[in-house]
C-alpha cells in the first residue's frame, strides 16, 4: 500500500493509500519520486473522466511528468546506480514489436503509458520503471527541470520531425504550454526566429520573454501576413500548429512557404476541414507528432547546456499534501500559468 493521488472518477480526487504493483524486474529501477508536473491530459481526465477512447473506469493514479532519485536497481541494470538523479519516459513499449524495431516505439500499439487508463501514473512516493527509459540528470539540472523534460520532449519531437534547417523561420500557432515548448525546441533546434500567435496577450507575454520568439496577437495581426512580411513574401519555412482550432489550421497552410513543412501538434476534437489544394499548390510536407521517441537524452542535453531554459515556465509548486489544490489551480488555466508542479517530500 502506498499513498498516491488517485482519480476516483471524473471530478473526484483523493490523496489516499492504494495497492500498486511494485515488483522490481531484472532490468528495472526503483525511483523515489521528487517532482511531478501536471499535464493538460491529467487535468482533462480529472474534469472529464476520459480522453477520446481512454476512459477512467476504475480509480487511477495521476501524473506522468516526473523526476526523482534511484533507490534500487535490478540485477541486470547497467548505467544507473542507487542515488542517481533521474527523470523518466512515461511510456513503456514492447521493445520487440515491429514499431519498436523500426525506432518508432511511440507508435507501438501496446505502449503502456503512465496515467492513461488503465495504467497508473506516478503521483506516489515510489515507482518501478525500466532502466532503459530512465535518464540521468546532470548535477546542475534541478528536479523541477527534470520534471519538465516530458513536456519539452513533445516540443523536441515536433522540432525533430520538422527537420529544421539551420536558419529556418518558424511560426507556432497557439501559445499554450505545448506551443511554448515547441517554440523553444524549434529555436534550440536551428531556427533563427520563431513567431508565435495567440488570441491571449498574457500567454504571448510569457513566450516573448525569450529572445527570438516574436509574439503575434490575433486577430489584431494576421499571422500569415506577418510571416510574409518577415520573409520577403516567402512564408514560414516551418509552421507548428499547436492550437488545434479550425482557424489556426487554415493559418498554418496560408503562412507556410513553398516546399515548407507544417507539423500538426494540436489535437482538434473532430475532423477539421483542410484545404488540400492550398497545401498542394505549395507542395508542402505535413508531419504529425505522437508523444516522442528517443528525445529524452537530447532534451536533457539542451537543458544542461543552457540553450533551453525551462525554469521560467514553472509557475507554482505545491506540496504533495496539497496535490488536490494543485490540480484545482491547474483547472483554473490562468493565462500566465504554464506549468504547475507537485513536490514530494522524503524523510
Amino acid at each position: 500500500m502506498a499513498k498516491a493521488l488517485v482519480l476516483e472518477e471524473a471530478r473526484s480526487l483523493s490523496l489516499r493509500d492504494i495497492d500498486l504493483a511494485d515488483d522490481l524486474g531484472a532490468e528495472d529501477v526503483r525511483i523515489a519520486i521528487d517532482t511531478v508536473g501536471i499535464c493538460g491530459s491529467d487535468v482533462h481526465y480529472y474534469t472529464h473522466g476520459k480522453i477520446g477512447p481512454f476512459v477512467v473506469n476504475a480509480p487511477m493514479v495521476l501524473g506522468h511528468e516526473a523526476s526523482g532519485v534511484v533507490s534500487e536497481i535490478g540485477p541486470e541494470v547497467t548505467g544507473l546506480t542507487v542515488g542517481d538523479r533521474v527523470c523518466m519516459e512515461p511510456g513503456i513499449p514492447n521493445t520487440r514489436s515491429k514499431a519498436s524495431k523500426l525506432g518508432v516505439y511511440n507508435v507501438d500499439p501496446s505502449v503502456r503509458f503512465w496515467a492513461t487508463p488503465p495504467v497508473h501514473g506516478c503521483l506516489t512516493p515510489s515507482v518501478v520503471h525500466p532502466a532503459a527509459f530512465t535518464f540521468k540528470l546532470p548535477d546542475h539540472v534541478s528536479f523541477a527541470e527534470g520534471a519538465m523534460v516530458e513536456p519539452f520532449a513533445i516540443g523536441m519531437q515536433a522540432a525533430a520531425r520538422a527537420r529544421i534547417k539551420p536558419g529556418d523561420v518558424a511560426l507556432v500557432t497557439g501559445a499554450g504550454p505545448i506551443g511554448i515548448m515547441v517554440a523553444l525546441a524549434a529555436l534550440a533546434g536551428g531556427c533563427a526566429k520563431v513567431y508565435i500567435a495567440d488570441l491571449v496577450e498574457d500567454k504571448l507575454a510569457v513566450a516573448a520573454r525569450y529572445d527570438n520568439i516574436e509574439p503575434i496577437l490575433i486577430p489584431r495581426d494576421d499571422a500569415a501576413s506577418v510571416l510574409r512580411d518577415a520573409t520577403e513574401g516567402w512564408g514560414a519555412d516551418v509552421v507548428f500548429e499547436c492550437a488545434g482550432a479550425a482557424a489556426s489550421i487554415r493559418t498554418a497552410l496560408e503562412a507556410v512557404a513553398p516546399a515548407g513543412c507544417v507539423v500538426w501538434v494540436g489535437m482538434p476534437v473532430d475532423p477539421v476541414p483542410v484545404d488540400i489544394v492550398l497545401a498542394q499548390s505549395k507542395e508542402i510536407r505535413m508531419e504529425t507528432v505522437f508523444r516522442y521517441a528517443n528525445m529524452y537524452d537530447r532534451a536533457i542535453a539542451l537543458i544542461a547546456s543552457g540553450k533551453v531554459d525551462l525554469k521560467p515556465l514553472i509557475s507554482e509548486t505545491f506540496a504533495f499534501a496539497d496535490s488536490i489544490a494543485a490540480f484545482d489551480r491547474a483547472v483554473e488555466a490562468r493565462p500566465t500559468d504554464v506549468k504547475i508542479q507537485i513536490k514530494l517530500e522524503h524523510a
Copy 2:
C-alpha cells in the same frame, strides 16, 4: 500564323489559324510536334472554361503533353541537335527564382505552363521551347510514349515524394489516369505490391492488367481492411490518395501504417474534413504533389528500360484534323479510356 486547336471559350473549340509568338531564343529549340495527349485539365477548360482561379478570358491553344522532333536550335544550345526526337516539360519557371535555386522550380509562382491561361498550349505543328526543359527520347521509345511522359511524371513526383523504401506495400485510392500513373511509378520505384481501389470495375480492370497491381472494388471491399489483411495488421507503408473524395481521404488515413506516409495527389474541390488526431495517433507523414520537378529524365529512363510500359494506356489516337472529335471522346470519359492522343502529320 499557324494552325492550332483553339479553345475560344467554354464549350467552343476551333481548329484554326492563330498568331503565336515563335521567336527562337539563344537557349531555345524549335520542335515539330508529333503527338499530343489530352489531359483532364484540357477537358476541364473545354467544358468549364476555367479551373479554380485560372479562367479562359481569351482564345487559348490547348495541349501540354507533347513529343516531337527538333527542327532548329538556338545558338547557345548544347546537348540537342536538329532531328532529335524529344518530349517537353510544359512548365517554364524563372530559373533564378528562390524556388528554382532550391530545386523546386515547380512551385515557383512565376512558372508559365502550357495551356494554363493566359499561356498557349502546344496543339499546333511547331513550338519554341527552352532546351533545358526538352528531353531526348531513346530510339526505341515511340512518340506516343513520349507524349505520355508528362502524365507519368506526376506519378513519378508522387512516388519520389513518398520516399518509398524497397519492398513497401502501397495503396492507391482512385483508378483514373493519374491513379494508374502513380501505381506504375510506385511499383517501378520500389514497392513490392500496389493495391488500387475504385468504385468502377472497368477502371480497375485496366490497372489490374499489370503485375503486382491488385484491384480493390469498393464498397464491396473495404480498402483499409484489405491492406491490414495483406500486412499482418500493419497497414500500407504508403497511401497515394488520387481520388480527391472525402471517403477516400478517410480511407487513406485508416489504411496507412504507423509511421507511414500519405501522399495527397487528388485535388478535392473544397476543403475536406481530415481526422488529424487519427493521423497523429500513427504519427504519419503527409506529402503533397504539385506537378513535378526533375522527373522527365527519370521517367524516360524507366520507360526506356521496359520497367514501365505505358503503351497499353493509350486508348485511341486521332489525327490532328480530328482534334475536336478527340476532345469530345475525352469528354465522354469512358471507364476503359485512359489516354486519348492526337497525332500531327508533317509533310
Copy 3:
C-alpha cells in the same frame, strides 16, 4: 546433444553431436531447420579460423542463412504458430539498448549473431530463436528461397541506405554474391538500370541474365566512362562499391554523379586511400552498410511478388550428411557459383 556441422578449428570441420542450449523462452520459437546457405563468412572461418577480431577459440557450429518450420512456440508468442514455414534473422540484439531504441539494432554492440564466435550457428536440425526475429514465408516461396533472404537482406540494406529515387541509374562494382544481391535490390528498389563491373566474365554472365543489369568487363571497359556515356556525362546516381579493392574504390568516386551517393558495401582488409577532394568536388554522400535491420519482411515481400527472383542464384544443394563436401565446394569459389545450400532431412 544434437548433430551439427562443427568447426573445430581452422580447416577442420566435423559433422558430429554437440551440446547446444535449447531452452525455449516465453517469446521464443523452436524451428526445425530445412535449408542453410553457406556464406562467405562461414567459408572464411573454415579456411582462416577468424575474421578480424572474431576468432574461433572453441568448436563452433557454422551457418546463419536458414529457413525451416516452427515446431514449438513459447507461451507469449503471437503471430507465429506450429507448422509455419519461416526464415530467421540471425542477429539478436538487446532490444532495450540505445541503438535498438533508435531503430538501428544492427549496430547494437551487444548483438549475438549466429556463427560469429562465440555464438553457435544453425547448421543443426533444430534451433531456438526469438519470435520477433522469425518471419513467415508465403506458401509459394520455397525453403531454398527462404534461406536466401539473409544475403538478399544485405542488398536490401544497401539499397535502402542509398535512398534510391525512382529511375536512378546505378553502378555496382564487384559481381560476387553480394554484388549481385545489391544489384537485384537496387533494381527492385527503383533503379531504371544497374551496371555491374567485374574482372571475371563468368561472374558478369550470371548477373547479366537479369533484365536491366548491364555488365562491364574491366579493365577492357572503364566503368566510369561507361556510366558517363550512359548518362549524358552526368554519372551514376548511386554507386554500390562491393569489391572492397583500391581500384574499385577509386572507380566509385569517379563514376558517381554530382550530388550522388556512394554506398560502401565491400570490406577492404586495410584502410584504403580515398580521394576526399574528388568526393567533395561533387559534394557526394557516402553511406556504409553493416548487415541489415528491418529488412526481412521487405525482402520476403519482393521475393513473394516475383519482382526479385533468387532461384537462379542457387548453384547447388547438398544433403546435410554431405555438409563438409558442400563447404569444400564453396571453398573452390567457382566463378559461376553464387550460393551453395545444405538441405536437412526430417523423418
Copy 4:
C-alpha cells in the same frame, strides 16, 4: 579602367588600374564594394599561384568575401533597389544546368567563381553581379559582418548536410577559420554542445570564447575519448572533419557514434587512408561539402537574430590602399587571427 588588387603571378600583388568588364545585364545589379575579407584560398593563390587544377596564368583580381551598397539595378531586377546594403554569393552558376535545376547549383561544373582563375574577384571599388545572388543586409548587420557571410555559409552548408537533430553533440576537428565557422553553424543549427580539437592552444582559445564550444587540446587529450566520456560511451552524433589531416580523419571515424555522421570539410592534398571497415561497423553516413548553395539568406537570418556573433572573429581591418599589407598579414597566419578584412572608401 578601375583600381583593383591584382595578383600578377605567384608572390606578386599590385594595387593598380585594370580593365574589368562592367556591363550591367537586365537581371544584374552594380555594387559599390565596402568590405572584403581575405580567404585562405586568396592567400594560397598569392603564395603558390595555383590551387590544384586552378592556375593563375594571367593577372587576376583577388577577393570573394564581400559586402557593399547597390549603386545601379538592371531593368528586370525586383527585390533590390539603389542604396540597399548587400552581400554577394561569389559563385554564378548556369541556372538552367541539370545541377541547378536539382537545387545543387554549387556543383554545376560551369560555375564562375570570383577570384578562381580565370575569373576576376571583387577587390575593386565596383562590381556587377546577378541580383539573384545578391542578398540584402538588415540595418543592424554591419558591412564587416556582411563580408563574413561567405565563410560562414560554408559552415552552414556543413551543418545543413549533417542534418543535425536538436540536441546532437558534435566534434569539430581543426580550429582554423573554417572549423570555427562550422562549430558556430552547428551550434546555431541545433547542437547542444560542440567540441573542437586542435594542436594549437591559441586557436582553441578563440573558439572557446563562445558558449557551448568546448576545446580539446591534442595530443594532450584524445578527442575520441573525450567524446565517449561526454556521451556515456556513445560517441559524437556528428563529426565535422575540418583539418584535412590523416590523423584527424582517423579521429573522426573513431569519435563518431553508431549511425552517426561524419562531414568531410577539410581538404587533404592527397588521397588519405580511410578505414572503411571501421565506418561500416558503426554504419555511419559520410557527407561532403563543396562551397554552399541556398545558404546566404539563412546565414544572414542567424546573424541578424544574434544567434551567431561573428564580430569577435574579425581580427584586423586594413584600408584598401593597404591591401598588400593585409595580404602579408594574412600570410603570417597568426594563430589568434581568424579573419583579416579590407575596407574600401567611397568619396
